[in-house]
Amino acid sequence: MAAAAAASIRERQTVALKRMLNFNVPHVKNSTGEPVWKVLIYDRFGQDIISPLLSVKELRDMGITLHLLLHSDRDPIPDVPAVYFVMPTEENIDRMCQDLRNQLYESYYLNFISAISRSKLEDIANAALAASAVTQVAKVFDQYLNFITLEDDMFVLCNQNKELVSYRAINRPDITDTEMETVMDTIVDSLFCFFVTLGAVPIIRCSRGTAAEMVAVKLDKKLRENLRDARNSLFTGDTLGAGQFSFQRPLLVLVDRNIDLATPLHHTWTYQALVHDVLDFHLNRVNLEESSGVENSPAGARPKRKNKKSYDLTPVDKFWQKHKGSPFPEVAESVQQELESYRAQEDEVKRLKSIMGLEGEDEGAISMLSDNTAKLTSAVSSLPELLEKKRLIDLHTNVATAVLEHIKARKLDVYFEYEEKIMSKTTLDKSLLDIISDPDAGTPEDKMRLFLIYYISAQQAPSEADLEQYKKALTDAGCNLNPLQYIKQWKAFAKMASAPASYGNTTTKPMGLLSRVMNTGSQFVMEGVKNLVLKQQNLPVTRILDNLMEMKSNPETDDYRYFDPKMLRGNDSSVPRNKNPFQEAIVFVVGGGNYIEYQNLVDYIKGKQGKHILYGCSELFNATQFIKQVKCTLLVS
């Protein structure tokens, strides 16, 4: 079935990694198999790819005793095969040759994250010869895994060298052609690896005149070349594996960040997006700083230390999977509910304990044992589950509390509501100037974000006098006005290129200040925080996808270019040959994306049966990081 074939990209990458770790042989679980052990060596790229997918325990299960960074001091460990997972860069190759010369391990399984060039391969061959270690190099593979999967249906290109492919890198005014070429090549290489892993050749559509178009042209060329090369094609049937081909080809929509600059600045209300916006969250790991409790430290004692805690938000965490897209009040309630049900189960176990205690004194209480042994067995065997549940509840309580603190301190709910109203062009009940001049609502950055969104979505630019007023208010509040300059430029450019993006109609209904959460006296005291309910709206990216996927006609997307790498002759027309709606689509944002867009796409596709969307971007940033980039972009020019 086509839907089953859209197997999660996370699964595919995990399977590929496991195969690689199993000496490039498909992994079969065998309960009485002999243990084999090996050492895993990776560079930082490899680390970023592996860490969201495999935990240390899973690595151990695959027989990995040690996992080390390539460029660290490594001691020789004889009689151990070593699996390398690195990018084929000069430094990495040099270090590998050094390892060969120093004879650190018994045998070497070299895996390159993206394809290695012939000349570099010869360098390794040279070193191997010099060290008389040619037979020790057991296998060499090109893995084509040069992308990072964060969710079942979301991926980013890279984490280590994001500055290379950042928004700023692509959009700065002083970029030279060669630099642009390099950036595009990096992006295309990763996208190519992505499609090799996915096992499908997409139909590509992109807007004209943007960086996305450049990427599309190059990607099309690369795919085409690979398909033509019958001997080495990566997309032939047998390499796809059994039962993994879909009847329909997926659609790849390449969009540029510049079509929608409001979304990266937007304040948000869903759990995952909030965590990304407000806390330190990347590669599925959130780092919290906790102050170590209320202690009256006597004079002269050490100052209070802040504990840093980090949590991994993984697919195993059922609560996270269920609620990462829910509005925050719902999350708070659910944590409460989970806590209550956990306490009930705990009490059940404790009750059994007391019954058992009684039984020892009362000889005639055999009847009490009636089915208590069975209960006890089930209680004992369910203890590990219970402990795991507790751990997750603690985790989410801490994370949600941290988020809540930010919301309360910065009045993020007010900002969110206001921005939603701005973006949907409903009437505003409070004037923008009031919010900006209000000293307790939000950091200067929040105010800047709000103002920029206002500026971006305004149909006509505000008058000079108004603008001056706003500028003064902003400066009083402590904002740096550089981003405004950039947005002005962008808006002028965008107006020339196409009609400004509109955000559709939406309303947010405040559900009143009293909520069930408050009534149950939970620790998530959300007084003063509005319990806002999100109504589904389509962000520009979602709208574009909708048009292209359902083959709707719309002036915005009608002149998008159309590429089909499988067709014999390069087709430059915009007329799609395929008239049927697509079942699978991949949206890729060149220049950076964020969780708000991702969540919007997920919500959009939930309503459609049997359709799947994957979301990718060249880098993932939250509003703070985006503003920083925009500030710098201006300074350079």
Partner: protein, 367 residues
């Protein structure tokens, strides 16, 4: 999909070789090179550790193969329809059990030895960690193989229990009183001595046959009196009552068996957990003992300082304290004698002045 470029690599090696030859660069290439490789590899220290680790693994592998090989016989030979003794006698099974157990014990000892040795040897942190994890893998392997064994054993034990149950209680509620009581007696005897002989089936058949003549003799012994209808009824009722009792006993025994099995499972879980926690509990014990010692010393220090009154001009701190404390010790030693417990002062200066009270069991032991 990953692409295997090993062949490409080998081709590159050849290319480089020929290129180097052409350039006249001296490299360890060619036929000599491969021999060189071999020579160079053999004197390399073949890790003692890894060869022994592999030995242990191969031993465990042998055990596993042995268990799997005989597993069918071990389990299957229980069917009654086979020849009298089946293919494996119980003694043979016991033998297997014992052998397997000793084997497992020696394997785990070997693993322990390797571990201690690995700790003692001086190696880098990475090598130590690596070896630790390797040993963990081997232990895990041993555990899995032991599971095989314990599963087999559990099946065997279960069968024995089942058989005992069958041979003890006759599920024939329709027999008359005398039959049931006599059959009970009769069946109880044979069940005690027939452990594994698959002859219990014959007993139920024998029993009614035996009891028939008995019944006949009984009936004859009673004389010619016809049993009056009341007596018949009475006996009938008694029959029913006894049958009911037997059935309920039977049910209860079944339940108890079920619970015993569960309890054994629980016990298994508990022993595992306790063993796991043993090391931690030991370390906690150590820490607590250390902590009490520290607290004792701390209290003493505080006591010394507090009884000294306001401190004079600051001097070399510790020395003056020591001087003062020795005075104090001398001065108050007289006070220590007339303690109500009559206990002689011990070296640590413990007396009822001691602010630290209870955690010391010695206080209670001296009445």
């Amino acid at each position: 999909m990953a692409v295997d470029i090993t062949l490409l690599f080998r081709a590159s090696v050849k290319t480089v070789k020929t290129r180097n030859k052409a350039l006249g660069v001296a490299v360890g290439g060619g036929v000599d090179g491969s021999r060189d490789e071999l020579f160079r590899r053999s004197p390399r220290p073949k890790g003692d550790f890894s060869s022994r680790a592999r030995e242990v693994i191969s031993h465990i592998g042998k055990l596993r193969d042995f268990l799997l090989e005989h597993r069918k016989d071990y389990i299957n030979a229980y069917s009654y329809v086979m020849s009298e003794y089946g293919r494996m006698t119980d003694t043979e099974r016991d033998q297997i059990d014992q052998d397997a157990q000793t084997f497992m014990r020696t394997c785990s000892e070997a693993i322990q030895q390797l571990r201690t040795q690995a700790h003692k040897e001086i190696h880098s942190q990475q090598v130590k960690e690596h070896r630790g994890v390797v040993l963990d893998f081997i232990e895990d392997y041993l555990k899995r193989v032991c599971k095989l064994y314990s599963e087999q054993r559990a099946i065997r034990v279960k069968r024995v229990v089942d058989k005992k149950r069958l041979s003890k209680l006759e599920p024939e509620p329709s027999t008359k009183t005398r039959e049931s009581t006599s059959s009970e007696k009769v069946s109880r005897n044979p069940s005690e001595d027939s452990e594994e002989k698959p002859v219990t089936e014959e007993h139920p058949e024998k029993v009614p046959a035996e009891s028939q003549p008995e019944l006949g003799t009984w009936g004859d012994g009673k004389g010619d009196d016809e049993l009056s209808p009341e007596e018949i009824q009475m006996f009938e009722q008694e029959n029913q009552r006894l049958i009911g009792e037997m059935n309920s006993l039977f049910d209860e025994v079944r339940q108890i068996e079920g619970r015993v099995v569960e309890i054994s499972r629980l016990q298994e879980i508990f022993t595992e957990k306790v063993l796991q926690q043993e090391a931690e509990i030991d370390s906690i014990h150590q820490l607590v003992v250390g902590a009490t010692e520290n607290i004792k010393e701390g209290n003493e220090d505080i006591r010394e300082v507090s009884t000294l009154g306001p401190p004079g001009p600051p001097q070399c701190g510790t020395e003056s304290r020591q001087q003062r404390s020795s005075c104090w010790q001398g001065g108050t030693s007289a006070l220590l004698w007339p303690s109500p417990q009559g206990s002689p002062p011990d070296g640590a200066g413990q007396s009822h002045f001691d602010p630290r009270q209870t955690p010391d069991p010695r206080c209670y032991q001296e009445p």
